[in-house]
């Protein structure tokens, strides 16, 4: 499936900003199962300095500086991407979850990169309560993917999607208590739960295809950025992406921008400005399906 994604962030400032620095994770990374056909960053006012690099996690990161006085700033990431992620391996054939945890703990050639995602991170406390919540899906000896799929489905079933009740600072403990939140909360909860069991889990930032209500045309700019969870199955099978908000395995309706330990590592747009007073933020995301590619199902 080929998508064009446009993600626009606009800041309107209360007073003039003299100097602004922005850090962007808006350019999707290339992956097995994801081909980036085109990618651009468009800013208004134009950047006085624009630098791009690969960050610690292998994501595309862009630094954008504006040093002319401005009252508003708008940046758009515009990319055309072909996606079609492989089916995960048969769950029953995956390693027992304890073995996966032991491999990650040992590090070394096969597991050192995955091991990074077993530790606590700034926005994901490893909560014992989250571990207990997950434990029901991980009885001793169960193949890891079986447990993951069940946990993914349980979060979809047992937690309620509701925006406005949580924010970026809401801790995992609170999400677990309320049993409601948005994609980022569900992802952080699942990550915390898996790490509590010693399993590597990472935060994936990206977009998901949405469908208009039956009989209505697709409305532009009404999409949102999305987040889900990458989980490690061991050296043989690597990572699988699971979306606990929707209870699905990521196949071809998700588009990956990048990943990190939690939201803070891959926040799409952040920045520091000199001056500016209070600011108003508006965001518009549009994920437009261009065409189904040959070979991709659905």
């Amino acid at each position: 499936m080929i998508y064009r994604v446009r993600h626009t962030t606009r800041y309107a400032y209360g007073s003039t900003v003299d100097l602004a620095a922005h850090l962007l994770h808006l350019t999707p990374r290339a992956l097995p199962g994801q081909r980036v056909l085109e990618a651009a960053i468009i800013a208004e006012p134009a950047a006085s300095r624009l630098r791009a690099a690969i960050d610690h996690f292998g994501n595309h990161v862009t630094w954008l500086f504006v040093d002319t006085p401005h009252a508003a700033f708008e940046v758009t990431g515009d990319a055309t991407v072909e996606v079609g992620f492989a089916l995960p391996p048969p769950a029953a054939g995956t390693l027992p979850w304890e073995e996966v945890a032991a491999l990650a703990r040992a590090g070394g050639p096969a597991a050192w990169q995955a091991a990074e995602f077993t530790f606590e991170s700034p926005m994901v406390q490893v909560e014992a309560a989250a571990g207990e919540y997950a434990a029901a899906s991980f009885p001793p000896g169960r193949p890891v993917l079986e447990g993951l799929l069940e946990l993914n489905a349980r979060i979809r079933r047992e937690l309620t999607y509701r925006s406005g009740v949580t924010d970026l600072a809401t801790p995992v403990r609170e999400v677990l208590r309320r049993r409601e939140g948005v994609c980022q909360d569900f992802s952080h909860l699942m990550i915390s739960a898996l790490r509590a069991l010693g399993l590597p889990a990472r935060y994936v930032s990206g977009y998901i295809r949405t469908y208009p209500p039956p009989g209505q045309p697709r409305r532009r700019g009404t999409d949102q950025s999305h987040a889900w969870v990458g989980a490690w199955l061991g050296p043989a099978h690597g990572w699988v992406d699971l979306d606990p908000t929707n209870g699905v395995v990521v196949r071809e309706e998700h588009l990956v921008v990048g990943w990190g330990r939690d939201y803070a590592d891959v926040s799409p747009v952040s920045g520091v400005v000199l001056g500016g007073g209070a600011h108003r933020l508006s965001i518009a995301v549009d994920l437009e399906p261009l065409e189904a590619t040959a070979g991709a199902s659905g």
Binding site: G107, G108, F119, S270
Partner: protein, 837 residues
Amino acid sequence: MDAVSPLDEMVDGAGGFRPQWRSLLGALADLGREALAERAVLLDRFFADEGVTSLLANPAAPDRPAAWRCDPIPLILPPAEFDTLEAGLAQRATLLEAVLQDVYGPQHLLAEGLLPPALVHANPAFLRPCRDPVAGRAGPLLHLYAADLARAPDGAWRVVADRTAVPTGIAHVLENRRALSRHMPEFLRARDLRQHGPFFDIWQDALQRLAPGGAGGNPGVALLTTGHTNPLWFEHVILSRELSCALVEGGDLTVRDGVLYLKTLRGLQRVEVLLRRQDGRMMDPLELESSMAHGVSGLLDAARSGAVKIVNDPGSGFAEAPGLAAFLPALAPRLLGEALLLRGARTLWLGDPAARALVGGDLGPWLVRRAVDGTVPSVRPATLDAAARAALLHRVLAAPQDYAVSEVLAPSVAPCVGPAGLEPRPVMLRVFLVFDGSRWRALQGGLARVMGSGTLSKDVWVPAEEGAAIQGPGGLVVPALAIRRTSGDLPSRVADNFFWLGRYLERLESAARLLRASGSRLARPTPTPRELAELKSLSACLVRAELLDPEVAEGGATGLGSRPLARALVQAMREGGPVLGLVGKVSRMTDLLRDRLTGEMQLALHHGLRDLAALLRPGPAAREEAQGLEQLAEASHAVLSFAATVAGLAAENMVRGGGRLFLDLGRRVERAQAIVAELARVLDQPGAASQPARLEPGLRLALELRDSVITYRSRYLTVLQAAPVLDLVLADEGNPRGLAFQLATARDMLVDLDGDAGSPLAAAADQLLEEARGMVREVATATVQAEAAMRLPPRLRAMEGAMAALSNRIARRYFTLLPAAHSLGPAAPGGRLRGAA
């Protein structure tokens, strides 16, 4: 391990003294126990006076670090032994640099299983934005390194901690040596020690070489501090002097187009090398958490593109993880192709199952440390009771990867001056090394900390061998410096502080003058009507200077009210009163400017302010009014003489980079404002229109407050007339206490600063001067001078306003700091349910 008794640094255990101590023994015996104890007290006072603070936070008052202390007796290390240490630590620093380059680059050590992920990825000092996984990082990431060492009973020094983030204590080494030279001269006399100087030459030189364009271009080097609230502020001040680099705070810096600049009076000046003395996590709010207050947005980007070199690298704190020590013996052959020359205290990382098996269930013989956080104090399980020990074991076993254990060493003991003579006490050594571009070079000496003593330390002596070559920098040719005389390089923040120091000093002096004038009148048993009128004018001036409550001043108008007035004035000089408040403000500015004042000036201010505060603060509430007024007179006198001393010193000997100019400008502006404000009030005499004689008290006061009575008499004898008085106070440029002098001086300084005779600020000062002259001319040519003079107060008040406006314009022109940075809250991903549009 406990059974082995610690080694004694001075005696050899066989009844003899170790050779390196022998030359000190004579001087020690000559001094005697009592003299030695006295010297110890003198040394304590030295550090308290100099404001030298401890390396350790003061748990009782974190914002007021405890004073540093130095024992009179040094720790003496034989040269050959020190050279061995230097070689071992140089190798260790080279190894840590290689580890840092790997961890912040390809991470081969992790891939090969030579470093466990827990020590890297769970280490809060591993800063992901500092990693370049593609190209790797260009070194050196480590530029300055320090190690803490303890000497084991077998006589060998062992490394117990690595300092790779912001190694502290170098200034303490310098101060210890300075203190001993001053207070223990007989110890240092005729003793030839290896000197500290060459280390700073090497260091300064190495910093210059780090500049992207090399040392040739006379690069901008700056030391980054969090400012005067940093517990080790004094060390930053000393280092910036020793290294001749600018001392800057995050707020002084800005990044434009990927280049780092310092905001100075003359505009932006490029900084190419940044010696960081603050937490690496606080360097850049764009990429690192919690650095809003002290960081510079875009700094990491500038560093990444090579426009500025930051040392030590913001991520260098990673190598301080205590657990890392467990892996260094194996990493040395892998990375350097050689074994460690200098052993570390044996350390095991408990995340390793083999290490856990070795320790078993008994932590007793070990020292338990957090694996990645060296700031958490280590625990000695053997000193805990059974329950606490079991709880510790439980915690360790629940998360073994978070812990490391080290062997318990019995550090060597060295003689310290105690109440009962010399006492052997355990010491820990800190040695400092700097990378000169090709190899690591040690400061020849160091710091010995006396364990369990709080802040007590020892100077470390390395005797010089006969005919030893003098070490120097490696023959770098630094081009001749351009001669600079202007104050353009002064950071705007510093100029602002000088300006306000000038204003507060002047305000303090003027307060003392007003209080003295009022006090002397109140001291008379029965004030004459003239004195009462003067008191009324004075009260108005006191209210304007915020030294007196307006209500009390109102009461003072009647004869009956003089008693509360006297009480209020005595109170103004006491604890909580406005005068002490001003002393506090002067004191704060002096602290802020510590790096910019000469030692002499700083001591004069420090001692003067301390004495003033001591005189004013306790003031036993005098029962008798007369006694209170006497104290008032004494206190005003003390303030005035302090002000005179400071003014004299400032005129003679203070200049560091143009500070004096702003100090003086502040004084002139403050004084000019006070002159017109007070004159407006003393000329405001009701009834003077019909009886010109009523203006007389006002005229007399105008002269007295400007200290111009004698000048007036010498010119006009005792006849008081409005025009000559006003001429002296307002228009005579030759009277240093008059308005014209202030305005003319300020104008000249403003021309100087702008380097342009047409400076708009200078023109504004000129205009005020012209206006003052005009007033005097009008009064002089009036038929009735008193009448003309009485019409001045409203105009004088308007002028007071114009003066305040000028002060604001000066502030805007020279001191405007960069606007405050703030972070843009990132947007939370909405992450809707599929199909829920």
